[in-house]
Amino acid sequence: MEWETVIGLEIHTQLQTSSKIFSGSSTAYGAEPNTQASLIDLGYPGMLPVLNREAVGMAVKLGLAIGAKIADRSVFARKNYFYPDLPKGYQISQYELPVVYEGTLDIEMDDGSTKTVGVTRAHLEEDAGKSLHEGFETMTGIDLNRAGTPLLEIVSEPDLRSSAEAVAYMKKLHSLVRYLEICDGNMQEGSFRCDANVSVRPKGQKEFGTRTEIKNVNSFRFVEKAIDYEVERQIDVLESGGEVVQETRLYDPAKGETRSMRTKEEANDYRYFPDPDLLPLEIENSFVEKVRSSLPELPDAKRERFISDYGLKAYDAGVLTATREMGDFYEAVVKASGGDPKLAANWVMGEFSGFLNKDGVEIAEAPVNADALAGLLKRIEDNTISGKIAKDVFEAMWAGEGDADTIIDKKGLKQITDASAIEPIIDDVLEKNPQQLEQYRAGKDKLFGFFVGQVMKATKGKANPQQVNELLKEKLKG
């Protein structure tokens, strides 16, 4: 039987506010345990939460960016469950009336196709603390610094049909929240976490199959692997006559499999009800418009502009707009070099990105800035150096040996464009290879490349390849 996969994603993004969603505690990462946990975060009796305006603004920002509706009135609810890293015995979240609903996100697949994915809702809630299970014999350590950090949970429609689509959606959202500067997207620190709802159904069937929820998968690669494993598992269960149990499962990256996390007896029963400590959140139009005017150019718009303004291919434009930093860097290079935008694109995506990855550094920390790279591109365009030599120059720039001109000068890499300097070298090459010369003249045209290679070798790559071609042709006619 042919099966169809159905996936919906719930993505928790930590909003990058300075203080918590309901208290004035700092949200800075990495502080000493419990030094950023106030009486409100600790759930002491009699404490009252007060909502952070910035967190609301960030939720609205996301809503506007995905063309969603912004609720003029939304309500906070208590989600009740007991766990030691949740001191109050409930999480303040939103249930029936979320702040953002009915948006869409367009994703681009590797084959160039695009797809519009529905975003059901995005709601504000507080994060829980952290439990440390190791290091205390019969006890668990609790750090409540994270408790009360604002989260925006973004819930997709079950519109995704493969793990590849799920990853594309996740990457798109990851890029978007960083463009909007509402979340730092740091997956290692848990700022951007994903739960995946996965089910399968016979192709053509309308009803959804029973789904399982895979919790807390914290890398793009693991999301893909976890979903692929889970789909295979469910199909195996169904094809051997069994039934999929609706449950929460955990992905184990070491074993590459998902396993059941909670038994049925402890099925979730959250008993949501409106939190009497918080009044309804009313958002006025003026607030929404103020947020709208603060929106940056969004990834899709930037991508289209790169295609039309710089003549880039769709794929290249996509790579260069994946992050706001990359897009800004590319445009700074184009502007500073004043030359061919495609050459700039090749260098930013090629050598520059390659060295970033190799050293594991961010653009802001890169030893070669946009002006420096533009300086190198100018020397390629005015034929001072060839593209090949430019790679050596770039490497030296990255190593901190100075700007392009300094390195070209110091190492004597300037391209030889003087015909009277190249001609004797060609003569020398032809003289040293009489056999090849004879074969060439006898009709073996392929040997032309051999002669070019020999000349380039003799000049240590410094001869202008185009000029070598022309001069060689003349000589070989000889």
Partner: protein, 95 residues
């Protein structure tokens, strides 16, 4: 509406209440009567009524995003039965 002994056990578990097996029948009867009493509300016609989220006719006030809390960990942890290395200690939680 009639709650079963299993319903009572489930509710007690959700609320983390330890109850005696011998009392369950009585609780089931009492709870059922409470639910029946509240159930009368279901007879009211609420088609034209907006659900009320809060009894006060007011909207949530918002605060500016500034850090106003200082570190008082040592004082707060005096109320905790067990702490170590700045962490609150609780009986081991196993997932």
């Amino acid at each position: 509406m009639s709650l079963s002994p299993d319903d009572v056990r489930h509710i007690a578990h959700l609320a983390r209440l330890r109850i005696e097996e011998q009392d369950i029948q009585e609780y089931a009867g009492n709870l059922s009567r409470i639910v029946d009493f509240v159930d009368q509300l279901g007879k009211a016609d609420t088609d034209a009524v907006t659900p009320m989220a809060h009894p006060l006719e007011m909207a949530q006030r918002l605060r500016d995003d500034v850090v106003t809390e200082e570190n008082h960990r040592d004082e707060y942890q005096q109320n905790a039965p067990a702490t170590e290395a700045g962490l609150y200690l609780v009986p081991r939680v196993i997932e």
